[in-house]
């Protein structure tokens, strides 16, 4: 399967895509007017910047970092301390520039720590980032003046002189601040992929040894990419500080680093826009899924597992593969297969979900009695019929899904062959 690295939408100009993106950022809070929606939209903007900055390392540079939260988190802390300095009258910058303080701090720490981590690549690089992350987290527990101990550091974003009448009192002003930073950061990070350093970074990912023989110092390339990544990570962190008005030690924690890795991967590290999807999913999972079920981390783990196994290019690659099929006018041929896959997967998931929820109910909520509601059905966590029923639904779903999958794979293979033939035909026709 050919993966096209360049983000090249079908027949649609780049301008259209970027205008639509800007428009979407502009009108999103008008379409989703609930308070929770606004909170989520703000977090999505922040997560998008963070995941995109992470993907400079993972997808574009082949650097598997286990410590990206160090740069977002330290950016958050520095921005928060700067905010408090503004409140205290010791610093005279508008609050809208605080994310840049976060960005510059993230960059500063990347200059410092990246100098050590980017000396190595591959597994040693991953190990060192893990070590650095643990180090910073341990420090966050030791230096409570800076990290604020268990309570963290809090502040009030209504500080300093209002800039053009913007006080950041109303939530919507915070949203638009984040939206502006999101648009500019996404544009800047995309532009980065189209520069000499951005392309050589891809070359370093593909084949570091060869890069050394075309005049480039691979360590320097990784280091510079790491610094750029740290800058945008810090911006995301600074926005987070303004948005939440509190920063606690968990922002530099391993769980946060893991989340960046996981959702960047889920969104798709091989395409520029993959982490944008990843950032959106991250917020949906953290805010909505965690409300819906206590077992959300388990579901997330399962999704991640299947993604790594069956679609290592993430959601973005699934989209691009199907766009390719659509481009050759063959998407309609497998429409039914997708429907079949979707329905059987739903049946399977319903069964599996029922079992998982019953286990969680027994472990955590047994004081509330044996009964629980799941998808509109009353289940008895201690009843044989509930377990039997759930297992039956799951296995039936699994069997049907496997049948649908085989059918789909056959059709997919045939279509890919047709497309290859078509490409060959066009090539020789030229």
């Amino acid at each position: 399967m050919a993966t096209v690295y360049k983000f090249k939408p079908l027949n649609v100009g780049r301008w259209v895509i970027w205008s639509l993106f800007a428009l979407l950022l502009l009108v999103a809070p008008l379409m989703f007017t609930r308070n929770l929606s606004h909170t989520m939209l703000e977090q999505m903007g922040i997560a998008i910047i963070a995941c995109l900055s992470y993907n400079v390392l993972l997808g574009q540079g082949g650097m598997l970092s286990f410590g990206h939260a160090v740069y977002t988190g330290l950016g958050s802390y520095m921005a928060m301390h700067a905010l408090n300095a503004v409140s205290g009258g010791k610093l005279g910058i508008p609050v809208s520039l605080l994310p840049l303080v976060g960005g510059l701090s993230g960059m500063g720490f990347a200059v410092l720590l990246g100098w050590v981590t980017t000396r190595k690549s591959g597994t040693p690089f991953a190990m060192i980032t893990l070590g650095v992350a643990e180090l910073v987290f341990a420090m966050s527990l030791m230096f409570s003046e800076f990290f604020g101990g268990e309570a963290g550091v809090s502040g009030n974003r209504v500080a300093g002189q209002p800039f053009l009448g913007i006080t950041f009192g109303p939530q919507i002003q915070v949203y638009y601040l984040i939206a502006v930073y999101t648009f500019v950061s996404v544009a800047a990070l995309f532009a980065f992929t189209q520069t000499p350093l951005g392309r050589i970074l891809n070359a370093v990912r593909d084949n570091p040894e060869r890069v050394e023989f075309i005049g480039y110092n691979t360590q320097r390339v990784r280091y510079l990419a790491f610094i750029i990544s740290g800058f945008f990570a810090g911006i995301a962190g600074g926005l987070g500080a303004i948005n939440f008005e509190i920063v606690t030690a968990e922002v530099v924690g391993a769980a946060r680093s893991g989340a960046y890795l996981l959702f960047t991967f889920l969104g798709g590290a091989t395409f520029f826009f993959g982490p944008v999807i990843g950032g959106v999913l991250m917020v949906i999972a953290f805010v909505l899924l965690s409300e819906l079920t206590k077992a959300w981390l388990l579901y997330l783990g399962l999704v991640f597992l299947f993604m790594v196994m069956y679609a290592p290019g993430g959601i973005a690659s699934l989209i691009m593969m199907n766009l390719r099929v659509a481009k050759f006018g063959k998407l309609r041929q497998i429409w039914n297969s997708y429907l079949g896959l979707g329905l059987t997967a739903l049946v399977m998931l319903a069964g599996a979900g029922a079992i998982i929820e019953m286990v969680y109910h027994l472990q955590l909520n047994s004081a509330l009695g044996d009964n629980l509601r799941f998808m509109g059905v009353m289940l008895n966590a201690r009843g044989l019929d509930s377990w039997f029923g759930a297992a039956f639904v799951m296995l039936t779903g699994l069997g049907l899904f496997e049948l649908a999958r085989r059918q789909y794979m056959r059709e997919w293979g045939a279509i890919q062959e047709e497309i290859e033939k078509e490409i060959k035909r066009r090539e020789t026709a030229v």
Partner: protein
């Protein structure tokens, strides 16, 4: 300025206690085409790895245009005008053919690590990459990912990447390895074309090719240069005949490979 483009003085290399390169002396004039031949395991590839900075020497000196390059990093040596290809195809698999070539020209055109210029605006780099594309005959494969090329096409791309930076001294490590007879002859004319006027060192097994391409032949046997002379002189050299060449020449003339 030295009279020699590349000069090796008593170069030695040990791996552990084993001495692989045992005092090699070699002086190549600018514009000369030198074929390095010798049996498997003689140290030809190791010699290339030492010259290009992939490995460090145990002792001795290597000079490029009169300047010491031993102890330098590969990218430093490359920037001084020496470029090499690899025996096992060594390209950027997930980049397109054009991107592969464009990467190879960036440093030499002075773009270094810049991230403030768009690639699409670099006229000289794009023109040079397209020129290379035409030289190696892959115009039709411009936007194909390098990993989807045929083997012969990948070998051609390997050459393209090697010459991209405009180096004056080119090292080709078995450029025709794994190619059929007809592919090989086509490939040799490609190599001849793209290295026109440059100093060339190449490891090659096909004796027909060696005698056709090279101005001079260096015979490496057991970590030493047994002979370094014109093809005719090497062919007549009794020591070479005895050690290595005789049987191979006979083989290749008999149509074997």
């Amino acid at each position: 300025m030295s009279a020699y483009a590349l000069e090796l003085k008593d170069v030695r290399k040990n791996f552990g206690k084993t001495e692989i390169i045992r005092g090699v002396n070699l002086a190549v004039k600018a514009g000369e085409r030198v074929a390095v031949i010798g049996p498997n395991g003689a140290g030809k590839s190791t010699l290339f790895n030492l010259i290009s900075g992939r490995f460090g020497l145990s002792s001795g000196e290597i000079l490029l245009n009169g300047q010491r390059i031993d102890g330098m990093k590969p990218y430093e040596i490359n920037r001084m005008g020496l470029s090499r290809s690899f025996q096992i195809t060594n390209i950027f698999p997930k980049l397109s053919v054009f991107e592969n070539l464009r990467c190879s020209v960036l440093w030499s055109l002075g773009y270094r690590y810049t991230f403030l210029k768009a690639l699409s605006g670099l006229r000289d780099a794009n023109d040079r990459a397209d020129e290379l594309l035409e030289m190696i005959g892959l115009e039709k494969r411009r936007d194909t990912l390098a990993m989807n090329l045929t083997y012969a096409e990948q070998r051609a791309l390997e050459i393209g990447i090697t010459i991209g930076g405009g180096a004056e001294v080119i090292l080709l490590d078995e450029p025709t390895a794994g190619m059929s007879k007809s592919e090989t002859s086509r490939f040799i004319s490609l190599i001849r074309k793209v290295t026109e006027g440059k100093t060339l060192l190449t490891v090659e097994h096909d004796m027909g090719v060696v005698f056709g391409l090279a101005d001079k032949i260096a015979v490496v046997v057991y970590g030493e240069v047994l002979a370094f002379d014109t093809p005719e002189a090497v062919r007549a050299n009794a020591r070479v005949q005895e050690a290595y060449l005789g049987s191979t020449v006979a083989d290749s003339q008999a149509g074997g490979h």
